[in-house]
């Protein structure tokens, strides 16, 4: 099925998530959709699969305008989506998941017939899933396979895969790619949303790159030619495909490091043989020693394990193996409280979910953070404290403003204001996300001031400029692999892009 998206616009509040996006996927091709986090590719595929309604624009399928308002509509048009976290029903069995929501099923279930179809489809793609197994007992890869088989049984003509290769084994990946090629061969169109350059290179016929809500380039990998949309990229045969993609994704040049040297000799945070596990990832960090005053930037596409790593360093996540030491204290498997006492602070990305408490005011947050063994809150002192914080951190709000009423930038300033002092290690996710340039500069001013006082900062960011500008050293996470720290001055746009794409 040929899929055309024409002039799609979508706003989320002030954010223009899709700005006049057009995309054509020919029938029988595998089309890669690339971009940083927040580039708008998720929004785009969610519009196509009916999860989000677009503000304007048109979806055309095989030349005919399609009216997609809900996933049910999309399914009827034969568009199926495979979500990054498989949207299935863990307590049910594989075969029940296969049947659930199936258009082909009659009112009375016929598990035998379903199982026959299921087995036939599985055999077709060499998938090996026990129909009676509970989904909760399957691996992420198997759950994906199950979803693919299910969507195929529903007769989808277009298959959207969102980050399908994260968290699955190499052999499962091979199986997946084979299956996808086979499907493309049957004339189905496949949209492959990914970060991983090598996967895209290996699999896709065509790549569209998005940045800041817009399409910034398209690349026909079969023709190995570059069709330009912006026209500022020179046709240079020396550029590898990957390099071109990296350039499109991240821009051509990286900013220059601006951070003054602040690090001291003393090692404050050290990690040995750390193994971290989640449902989707398993990663290992052999050795890391962070010095006082040092800033470590953690680059990589979101969901590559950065958060897991930061939370483990903060004591919020139990490592499967390895040690975490703070100065000369072994904090491995110690409760979070001990980390706090040792001067570790974690500033999460999702401010209103993990960092701030909706329904409480700035002043109450300040009081919550400063609370000690005293019983009564000294209102006047708390107000004064909050006012000082508001003044110092330039927060647009009053002490009695509820945090959810603050803008994103002011919420971030509030989070910064809540950092305890003195502080040994600061673990941050996206310190300046959603902030304007001025605020960004200001935030880093504050952070560098902290460094000068001896605080070590480990921060994750999807903004490569920020990583290079403010880090002393940079670690790159990619699909569970972690690079050793590299001095920021040694990085180039290309090398960084390649590493983020999984080449190191």
């Amino acid at each position: 099925m040929k899929v055309e998206l024409r002039h799609i616009h979508k706003h989320f509040g002030a954010v223009h998530a899709n700005n006049d996006v057009s995309l054509t996927v020919e029938a029988g091709t595998i089309h890669g959709l690339l971009g940083e986090n927040g580039a708008g590719k998720s929004t785009l595929v969610k519009i196509l699969s009916g999860f989000i309604t677009r503000d304007s624009g048109e979806v055309v399928l095989d030349g005919r305008t399609a009216h997609i308002q809900s996933p049910a509509d999309a399914l009827r048009y034969g568009i199926g989506m495979l979500h990054q976290d498989p949207l299935d029903f863990p307590p049910l069995t594989a075969i029940e998941n296969f049947m659930a929501g199936s258009l082909a099923m009659r009112a009375i279930l016929n598990p035998r017939a379903a199982e026959r179809t299921f087995r036939a489809l599985c055999a077709q793609f060499n998938f090996d899933i026990d129909p009676q197994a509970r989904v909760s007992d399957l691996t992420v890869g198997e759950r994906q396979q199950l979803e693919i088989v299910r969507l195929l049984a529903n007769g989808v003509g277009t298959l959207i895969l969102d980050e399908p290769t994260t968290g699955i084994s190499a052999s499962q990946k091979t199986l997946l790619f084979e299956a996808l090629r086979k499907l493309a061969g049957e004339g189905k169109s496949i949209i492959f949303v990914s970060h991983k350059l090598e996967d895209v290179e290996e699999l896709c016929d065509c790549v569209t790159v998005m940045r800041r809500g817009q399409v910034v380039g398209e690349l026909d990998l079969r023709a190995d030619g570059l069709r330009q949309t912006e026209g500022k990229w020179p046709r240079d045969q020396h550029f590898s495909i990957a390099a071109r993609i990296v350039e499109m994704m991240f821009g051509k040049e990286l900013a220059m490091p601006v951070k003054p040297p602040t690090h001291q000799d003393e090692v404050i945070l050290s990690v040995e043989g750390l193994v971290l596990r989640s449902d989707r990832l398993e990663m290992r960090i052999e050795h890391l020693a962070v010095q006082r005053g040092e800033v470590i930037g953690v680059a990589g596409l979101e969901g590559s394990g950065q958060q897991l790593f930061l939370m483990a360093c903060a004591g919020l996540e139990r490592p499967a193996a390895g040690t975490i030491r703070l100065a000369d204290r072994d904090l491995t498997h110690k409760p979070y409280r001990d980390f706090l006492q040792a001067g570790v602070c974690y500033v999460p990305a999702d401010r209103l979910r993990d960092g701030l408490i909706s329904g409480l005011t700035i002043q109450e947050h300040v009081a919550l953070r400063t609370s000690n063994r005293r019983l009564f809150i000294n209102r006047a002192a708390a107000t004064a404290e909050a006012e000082r914080a508001i003044a110092t951190f330039n927060i647009r709000g009053r002490p009695d403003t509820l945090v959810e009423r603050l803008s994103g930038g002011n919420q971030q300033r509030t989070q910064l204001a809540l950092m305890p002092s003195p502080l040994n290690v600061l673990l941050m996710e996206h310190p300046t996300r959603g902030l304007d340039i001025e605020s960004t500069l200001w935030v880093w001013q504050q952070l560098i001031a902290r460094c000068k006082q001896g605080t070590a900062i480990v921060f994750a960011s999807s903004d490569l400029d920020e990583i290079v500008q403010y880090s002393d050293r940079v670690m790159v996470f990619s699909g569970g692999r972690v690079s050793p720290p590299i001095a920021a001055s040694e990085l180039t746009a290309d090398s960084l892009g390649q590493m983020i794409g999984g080449r190191f």
Partner: protein, 344 residues
């Protein structure tokens, strides 16, 4: 605002409708209930006697509600507090003995303390099931309510039964020396009222002015973020159960020493559930508990007049309370759903 007032008005209309449906005039009913609640010193005394334990329960529930918990187990906490208080009274004043082993005031004080401890035990049991067993506090609480009543009935029927009588009407009344003193001839006891008011006052202060209250609210609003910010969430949740159990247990003890002067199966008298309604109606803000609890107590006492000469059922008071709270919730929901849209 519009929606909330609208919902409030609808609830009033519905209450009127229910009254009319039963063939009575709303005005007469209101008049009768008011005079039934405040007509005589006795009646006012009774309103106060109902108010005191209600204040304790509602104050206790403020902690659990603010910690994000629906402590439906409060009834069981009252009951177990009452059982514990009865146990102490029986130990210190064995049946048939002419005098207590301790001076009566001390005995009463000890019984109230024991009631608090009993309530705490029952509250912490629900809390432990919730925090460590990951069982919904709602079902744990409901189950423990029935378990506590079961224990009370067993004791009343078994080891603590009146000589020769196995009846649900309760244990042998305690010696009059062990009754809490009252305001004159009425049933209101100053001690209970003072305890209720103190509990409420403490609660208002704790919620507004202490770090503990702040942390509790933080945990209730966002468990995860408050944990990240360094609030010991488990301890906070258990403390909420502890305090609520404590207050409810004291209320149970007061029911024994101040109202019934013995243990009866329904010693909690649904005061815990009534407290839940009060706290839901005030949207967990303790400052409004006193007037609402007073109003609810007056309704309950005044409703005793309905069967007299009007021939109506006293449960109208429950209907009024229920409708008010239901529509307060719906009004809140409407305001959240449509009120914001208007703002934009």
């Amino acid at each position: 605002m519009l929606y909330r007032v609208g919902a409030f008005v609808i609830s009033l209309v519905l209450i009127g409708l229910v009254v009319v449906l039963s063939g009575a005039s709303p005005i007469t009913v209101i008049g009768r209930m008011l005079s039934g609640a405040f007509g005589t010193a006795d009646q006012i005394g009774r309103v106060v006697a109902t108010l005191s334990p209600l204040l304790l329960c509602a104050a206790g529930l403020v902690y659990t509600f603010n910690a994000g918990l629906y402590n439906l187990g409060v009834e069981g906490q009252i009951t177990f507090g009452a059982i514990a208080a009865t146990l102490v009274l029986r130990l210190l004043h064995p049946e048939g003995a002419s005098a207590s082993l301790a001076p009566p005031p001390l005995t009463i004080a000890l019984a109230i303390v024991a009631g608090g401890i009993g309530g705490v035990l029952w509250g912490l049991l629900a809390g432990a099931l919730h925090v460590y067993g990951r069982i919904s506090e709602i079902f744990a609480g409901l189950g423990l309510n029935f378990a506590a009543t079961g224990i009370a009935i067993y004791l009343i029927f078994g080891p603590w039964k009146r000589p020769g009588v196995a009846s649900l009407s309760g244990t042998q009344p305690f010696d009059e020396s062990l009754w809490l003193g009252t305001f004159g001839q009425t049933e209101a006891t100053p001690v209970a009222l003072i305890l209720g008011l103190i509990a409420l006052a403490i609660t208002i202060v704790v919620m507004r002015n202490t770090y503990f209250g702040l942390r509790l609210r933080a945990v209730g609003k966002n468990l995860r973020a408050s944990y990240v910010l360094g609030v010991p969430a488990r301890r906070q949740l258990l403390s909420a159960f502890f305090i609520c159990g404590l207050f409810a247990g004291v209320a149970g003890a007061l029911q024994v020493v101040g109202v019934f002067h013995r243990l009866i199966p329904n010693i909690s008298s649904n005061l815990g559930f009534l407290g839940l309604l009060v706290v839901m109606l005030v949207n967990f803000d303790p400052r409004w508990i006193l007037p609402v609890a007073f109003f609810f107590s007056a309704l309950n006492i005044g409703s005793l007049q309905l069967p007299l000469s009007l021939g109506l059922e006293s449960s109208l008071s429950g209907v009024i309370q229920g409708l008010l709270v239901l529509f307060a919730l719906i009004g809140r929901g409407l305001a959240q759903r449509y009120g914001r849209k208007l703002e934009h």
